[in-house]
Symmetry: C2
Subunit: 170 residues, 2 copies
């Protein structure tokens, strides 16, 4: 396990998220339920004087149901081939499947947050949720509405302060 | 002028924005008024299947007044020493000063958007505004409220699709 500066790997990590995806893990503080989903979109920045990672979850998702009761999330970006698992977790719902079991993925405790990380070879971001923004279609351009939201299933944006960032070799 | 991939320079650009700042330029579509301000916060991501840069402007700012009537913005990150100009544009208002004149900065037309870029040596991002989010303090963590918003002067977040990104040598 090697701690890394979140900016020093941001190019590699963003390319990976864009091309093959990453696992977003969430855990409810109420019933301790854990779920994961595949994300292909994210943002990294420096906002409010803090390192921030932003993820987006549609209202219909089981992950949305859980993250609404969470205070943190983790993003796990595999650097080895987990394409099948990424596909499965991007298309199946945690309401119907135990995705960890189906994909042979195991979790381990995070360093700084309550939500676990996935035991995989790659990058791990531990984020404390500091802000959320429910997407308001009134302020979204028409093109994106037509491209992304024909079903009106809008995203909520979750802004997480990056409290730990490291690379693991399985 | 050299076109660059927005991700390939994101580490350098974010470090620059964090440490010395960058110029955000806005132009009203109504009266064509142009203003600039210094920003020290920003985010880069891949959202809605597009490269996105996010900037934040407080409601009290003259720049806010203008960007609310704009469809684009540019961010100009100097790589030579413009510390004095960055300080001036971060502390003085365009209501009171012609900041371009005071700082000896000139503008040139952008490639893809209506808002000009600054004629300086560095990186230039041209962004089409695709979404804005008015910060809702109800969803912000208490720590950030106390650190950043004791005056209740909240930011609006402007999400810009990056339509051009290049590096200039003066």
């Amino acid at each position: 396990m090697e701690n890394v500066n979140y900016l020093s790997v941001v190019e590699e990590v963003m390319q990976q998220i864009k091309s093959t995806g990453a696992f977003l893990v969430v855990k409810s503080k109420v019933d301790k339920k854990i779920n994961l989903m595949t994300i292909g979109w994210a943002a990294f920045g420096f906002m409010w004087r803090k390192p921030i990672m932003t993820v987006m979850v549609r209202k219909s998702r089981f992950t949305h149901h859980i993250i609404e009761k969470a205070s943190s999330f983790t993003v796990n970006i595999p650097t080895n081939d987990l394409e099948e698992a990424l596909n499965f977790c991007g298309t199946k719902s945690g309401r119907d499947f135990n995705k960890f079991k189906e994909c042979n993925l195991s979790i381990i405790p995070a360093q700084k947050v309550d939500t676990p990380v996935i035991n995989l070879q790659g990058f791990h971001y531990e984020c404390k949720i500091v802000y959320k923004s429910i997407l308001n279609p009134d302020f979204l351009c028409q093109e994106y509405k037509e491209d992304v939201y024909t079903d009106n299933d809008y995203h909520t944006l979750y802004f997480g302060e990056i409290v730990a960032c490291y690379k693991t070799i399985s």
